[in-house]
Subunit: 201 residues, 2 copies
Amino acid sequence: MPKVGMEPIRRQQLIKATMAAIDEVGLADATVMRIARHAGVSAGIISHYFGGKDGLLEATMRQILSDLGTAVAARRRALADDSPRAHLGAIIDGNFDRSQVTGPVAKTWLAFWASSMHRPTLQRLQSVNDHRLYSNLCSQFRRLMPRQEARRAARGLAAMIDGLWLRGALTPEGLDADHARRLAHDYLDQLLAAHPSSPAS
Amino acid sequence: MPKVGMEPIRRQQLIKATMAAIDEVGLADATVMRIARHAGVSAGIISHYFGGKDGLLEATMRQILSDLGTAVAARRRALADDSPRAHLGAIIDGNFDRSQVTGPVAKTWLAFWASSMHRPTLQRLQSVNDHRLYSNLCSQFRRLMPRQEARRAARGLAAMIDGLWLRGALTPEGLDADHARRLAHDYLDQLLAAHPSSPAS
DNA sequence: TTTTATTGATTGAACGTTCAATAAAAAAAT
DNA sequence: ATTTTTTTATTGAACGTTCAATCAATAAAA
C-alpha cells in the first residue's frame, strides 16, 4: 500500500496507537512492537517517522496538550459574555472535555505526568502547559480580587481540576465528567461568592 | 558484617533505598542494582528478602500507605473536641504530613499511583487506601448534611487533597505543605459554611 | 563447626535500533 | 498503452544492550 504522503497519516496512527497501548498495559510495558501492532505496522517504522521511541512519546504528549489547549480556547471564544466567571467556567469545561476524557487519553496523560518528573523533555512540556492554566486562571481572578487572593484562588482551582481529573483516571469506571464539572463549578462559585462584583448565578 | 536478625534492618534499608532511587531517576530506571547501591548492599539480596523486585515495590507502597494512615490516625486521636470539623481538619493535616511530604516519598507515591493503573497488586492497595479516605470523609460530613450532599463534599475534598498533593509532587520546589493545608482548610470551611450546625471558626 | 547472611558472575529473556531487502506506487520512456 | 526506471514506504531479522533472577562460593557470627 505504500503511497506518497503517508507521513501525516502514519504519525497520527502511531500517536493514537501509543495511547491505546498505554491504556492497555501502561507506559512501562508499551513496547515499540506493541505500539506498532496496534497501528498495524512494523516496529521499524517508529524510528523512521519519530527518530525513536522517545520521539514518539514526546509527540504523543504534545498532541494531548495541544488538544487540551484547543478545547479550552474554543470554549472561551464561544463565550456570550466577557465576565470573569464565564471565562473561568469555560476553562473548567475545557479541561473536562480534554478531547475526550475517555480512558486512553486520561491514562496516557497520567502516565506522562508521572514520568515528566524525570524526563526533562516531558517536564518542559508539562511545565509550560501548567503555567498556561495557572496564568489564565490568575488573570481572570485578578479582575475580581487583589493579586494575593487571585493567586490563591488560581492555585486552589487548578488543584481542584487536577485532583478531580486524577481521581477520574484512577477509578476503573473512568471519569464522570459531568459530576467533576459540577464540583469544580461549585468550588468556583464559592471562590467568587466572597467577592463583590459577582452576581448570584 | 553478617549477623543474626538482619531481616528487619535490611528490609527497612531497602525500602528507603527504593524511595531514594525512585526520587533520583524515577520508577522506570530504578533498577535493582541502583536500589542495592543506595542501600550499600548487593543486588542479589533483594530477591532474598523480598522474593524479587516486585515484592520490594509492593512493600514500599505498603510502607507509604501505612505511614499515611498512621499520621492521620494519630491526629484524630489527639483531637480536643469531637466535632466533624475537627475530624475533617485532622484528616487534612494528616494527609499533608504524610510522614514527611518530602521529595522521595512524594515522588514515589506519584510513581506508584500511575503504575497502579496496570498492576493489580498495587491497584488493590491504592483502592483500599482511597476508599478509607473517602469513607472517613463521608462519615464526618454525614453528621452535618444529608447523604447525597455528604458524598459530594467528600468527593470534592478528596479531590482537593489529591490535587494539591499531586501539584506539589510535580513542582521542582516540592510541596509547600503549609500553603496546601491552608487551601484545603479554606475549602473545608466553605463546604461547611452552607450548613447549619457549623459554628463560625 | 554449624548456621546465617551476603556476594557477584552468570544466564536467559526482552528491548530499541539498525539496515539491507522488498514491494508498491509514481514518473519517465517507449 | 505498455514497459522501464525511479522514488517512496515498509518490513523484519540481526545486533548490542540492559535487566532481573539465580546460585555456587564466601565470609562472618554463633
